[in-house]
């Protein structure tokens, strides 16, 4: 995975980090953070992405280690990872049903019980 690439329409990117207090993975959206990678903002312009990354770095009391991760727009319009490392971060480990996969399942269960 390249952290030094230039976002463009051909190689868009998301900004991702870890939540400072809890540690879980988060993604930038409209200057704020979401725990759902499907809601991440997709940056296709280098200058806008760099400014957003500076904003992310400035939010040091909220997140740790923000960086640009290459992504693409999926069939549903949501960002998708282009590298397996980012795929694991947004899914969870392969040996237990932990991480995001468990969180999403819980969210969907709660939504179905409304």
């Amino acid at each position: 995975m390249s952290k030094g690439f230039t976002p463009s329409p051909a190689t868009p990117a998301v900004i991702t980090a870890n939540d400072l207090r809890q540690g879980h993975c988060v993604w930038m959206r409209d200057g704020d953070w979401t725990a759902d990678p499907r809601e991440a903002e997709l940056f296709e312009d280098e200058a806008i992405a760099e400014l957003a990354l500076l904003d992310a770095i400035a939010q040091a009391s909220v997140v740790v280690g923000p960086y640009l991760a290459e992504a693409r727009r999926g069939p549903d319009g949501c960002p998708e990872p282009t590298h397996f490392r980012e795929a694991f971060r947004r899914r969870g480990p392969s040996n237990y049903f932990h991480g995001k996969q468990a969180e999403f399942a819980q969210t969907e269960l709660e939504a179905s019980n409304v």
Binding site: R21, Q22, G23, A60, S61, F84, R85, F88, S94
Partner: protein, 554 residues
């Protein structure tokens, strides 16, 4: 009751309380913005707190791999209360919790501290957790119990002011058997207790280490009188502290210092420094050691008739298989050391659930003199078990899924957490380990193959010690795809050898077929069932195995 934690006296308790309070304040200051991440990071690392792929990882030391039932219960409590119900034992006898929240770690730390466990120096460029033979105090071939020495080194190295900012991390292991069981050649310093003309001393190895540039240690002192251990260690560390490279993280370990400066130059510097350092030791260390020896006195062994045990072995094939595979000879007749492999069907190597921790703690308390160890292979050991009690222990372990008879076999695979958890990893280790184990279980070949050490690392840092595997597997990222290189012929113990890379890597789905071809070639080529894979490899060389791995090139 035998106490495997002599260090946990009032003074130690107060020290841990102070450290935990200090860390709690550091976390608070990070959260309120008084500390930046750059300022906080070295402080959290000094306490074993890493930021990993999915969450914070909390690494806790188990000095020389020894712990007590109440300590194991507390690890289980921490797993349940602040993590996700399990912990992961590592090759350096630490336990890692992969799902801690930063805000919870001070509470988790205090809970562990209450039973004498801590995470001090489980990271950072300092002297890490001290390792020793998991069968210490029990092994039939042991010259003397290495734990008092390991504990002395632990006390000396903890918060040693001079060695908190070394060029890089530093690992020490102590072995005392005729056969090395703590891989002394793979450590920055390896210590083997030896005897010369009836006098005990240490054979001192220096400059071992794995990672991206693996080196086996070399003997820097054939015989060091035991009383000189700490000044000599101090001399090595002082020389390394001054001459170790600080310009390049990847060349900063002592293995590179020894390789670049040469062993003879290092030895001369160490000996010169040793003469100076020795004068600074008043003998207090030897007084402390004598106290430790008393505290590490063996348990009161019981009369141990074995008739029932032999009858149970004759009557129960599964039990017989487990005792054939998972027992290690004990120095007391009627006793054995039992290996509890954390490599059952479908399990993640080194992982243990909180319920399993509590079960083993109860068993150790009732039937194993309250002594538990974790070994270099990511397995647990009950070092002192009466053979007469093994049937009861086996039944309880079996109920908990902990009675897999595979110690040292092809399914007893060492694997680092890999990219399922680790932020440094370049590929996953766990699924590969599970697939290989499942494949050979399905073929029913574990016993037929015999001793086989497969080691898997998810990156070149080599936490899975792939360089020392009879078959080593290294996971890499090749153009955005997981790819696995295979090394052959490694050995960390009897004949220290680094594995040799066999050739081009394999995509994930081709690893199991490749290992399968390798094993089939071995079974076909071996002279007898007694000839292990590593023996056949040494006899025949790499060619026939390379041909099996790469049939298209043959």
């Amino acid at each position: 009751m035998f106490d495997a934690r002599p260090q946990h006296n009032d003074q130690h308790r107060e020290y841990l309380r102070h450290r935990a309070q200090q860390f709690r304040r550091q976390v608070e200051r990070r959260l309120d913005g008084s500390l930046t991440e750059e300022e906080f990071r070295p402080l959290r690392l000094m306490n074993g707190v890493y930021l990993q792929l999915h969450s914070y990882m909390y690494r806790v030391a188990i000095p020389y791999g020894a712990f007590t039932p109440d300590q194991l219960r507390m690890l289980g409590h921490v797993a349940d209360r602040w993590d996700r119900g399990y912990g992961h034992f590592t090759t350096r006898t630490n336990i890692q919790f992969h799902w801690h929240k930063l805000v919870d770690i001070p509470d988790s730390m205090e809970a562990l501290n209450s039973v004498g466990i801590h995470s001090i120096q489980t990271s950072g460029n300092t002297i890490r957790n001290i390792n020793a033979d998991a069968f210490a105090g029990a092994a039939a071939d042991e010259l003397e119990d290495p734990r008092p020495w390991a504990e002395l080194v632990r006390r000396w190295s903890t918060d040693h002011a001079e060695f908190q900012f070394l060029p890089r991390k530093f690992k020490i292991s102590v072995s005392a058997g005729k056969q090395d069981r703590s891989a002394v050649s793979a450590y920055d310093i390896g210590l083997r207790i030896v005897e010369q003309d009836g006098v005990r001393g240490f054979q001192v190895w220096v400059g071992g280490g794995l990672g991206r540039t693996p080196h086996l240690g070399q003997v820097v002192r054939e015989f060091l009188p035991q009383a000189d251990l700490l000044p000599y260690l101090e001399a090595i560390l002082a020389v390394y502290n001054l001459t170790g490279r600080r310009d390049n993280k990847w060349k900063a370990r002592i293995k590179i210092t020894v390789a670049e400066r040469g062993l003879e130059v290092m030895r001369a510097d160490i000996e010169e420094e040793f003469l100076r350092r020795r004068q600074q030791f008043s003998g207090l260390d030897q007084e402390i050691l004598n106290g430790l020896r008393a505290q590490f006195a063996p348990p009161e062994f019981l009369d141990a008739p074995v008739e029932g045990y032999e009858a149970a072995r004759a009557a129960n094939g599964a039990f017989r298989s487990w005792t054939d595979t998972n027992l290690h000879p004990h120095r007391i007749p009627g006793y054995a050391s039992a290996i509890i492999t954390l490599k059952g069907p479908g399990e993640t190597p080194g992982d243990m659930s909180a319920d399993q921790m509590r079960l083993v703690a109860d068993l150790a308390e009732r039937l194993a003199h309250g002594d538990i160890r974790v070994n270099h292979d990511q397995n647990l050991v009950l070092p002192h078990v009466r053979k007469a009690d093994l049937t009861e222990i086996y039944a309880a372990l079996r109920e908990a899924g902990l009675a897999t008879a595979n110690a040292g076999k092809i399914t007893d695979i060492i694997a680092c957490p890999g990219m399922d958890y680790c932020t440094l990893a370049t590929a996953r280790s766990i699924p590969i380990a599970k697939d290989i184990a499942a494949h050979f279980r399905a073929r029913g070949l574990e016993d037929e193959i015999g001793e086989m050490k497969i080691r898997i690392s998810g990156c070149i840092n080599a936490c899975g010690h792939h360089h020392l595997g009879h078959i080593g597997i290294l996971g890499l990222d090749r153009a955005g795809v997981e790819n696995y290189q295979i090394t052959l012929g490694g050995d960390g113990y009897e004949t220290p050898t680094l594995g040799q890379r066999a050739g081009a890597g394999f995509p994930a789905e081709e690893v199991v077929p490749a290992i399968n071809r390798l094993v089939d070639a071995y079974l076909e080529l071996r002279e007898s069932p007694q000839e292990r894979f590593i023996d056949a490899y040494r006899r025949l060389g790499v060619a026939p195995f390379k041909a099996a791995l790469y049939p298209a090139d043959a």
